[in-house]
Amino acid sequence: MTAVHMTKGLAVMLMVCLATIAQAQAPTNDFPNQAAYDVLQLATDKLLNKVVDNHVLYVADTDVFFSDVDDLLSSIIDFQRIARRVMARHYKKAELEQQIAFKKAFKHSLLNVYAKALLDYSSERIVILPPTGNQKINLKRQRVEADFYSAAGRKIPVTYAMYLNKDSQWKIENIIVNGINIGLTYRNQFSRLMKANNNDVDRVITGWRSGLELDG
């Protein structure tokens, strides 16, 4: 899977957080993923409102956009966890500075793609599907489904893998777009880059940042 496909998939995935239709309030039931759904819906609405309110400003100044959106996204996406999982077995072998550097590069590249998604996909729609009860009972992990509608009317199914962290907050730990496990795809990509760069983490981090920016 090329980086272009990945970034496009990522743009789609991030657009999911951007545009949403106000859903009729789901009845409060004891569906297993009700709590996760509520958290996701709330965060998405907040994000959408913020972007709509400041659309002109964000298009003009991407740095402000990055910093504004950074806080909101960080509250719902656990970047640290995702970055750690992408590094997989290389994480333990890396120095603390390298771990932090990769997390920063990873987050930056995601936000970068997000900015482009904002400009390109302004008319997209996303529907976060309310819980239906078709979930396993699991106190720590739940999945929330969403449908993303592209301008061509194509429906792209997106699944958020959410987990309950130590502070009892629901956060996104992975996203599955169209059946493709994005976290796993990045993990494979990181592994490939490590092999190509003789397991030099610093070179991989530099390459990661530049690679995604070039392709985006």
Partner: protein, 152 residues
Amino acid sequence: MRNKALEVTVGLFMLAGFLSLIVLALKVSGLTFSGSKDSYTVYASFENIGGLTERSKVTVAGVAVGRVVAIGLDKDDFSGVVEMEIESEYDQFTTDTSAAILTAGLLGEKYIGLISGADDEFLESGATIYDTQSALVLEELIGQFLFNTVNN
């Protein structure tokens, strides 16, 4: 004059031929006589298991480390639950290990590929892998391709 030794030799050759045929058949079908090594059980659920069957291989980096022993359906969320046995000597799989259903070659048989993660804890017997990648179904891919072509 019939030579008994000759007949016995021919008979032995025939036997050897049949035995090799049986060994070949067993190897191809995946059954082995290797003494059951110690193993532990791990579960994983997938949206679509594709053509995965019992006795499909479980691999890490292409190296076989176990086998699929059972495939079931989860009645709560209608996902396919795969029960696999991994040889006990491979016990260093972190709890965030990924399990992906991969294809051997272009249209070959399906098998499971495991990729270890970064967590501190390791999978124990009876644990479930939660980070999974379902099989990519050919018809769905073709459908998406056609849909895109039509729309462009």
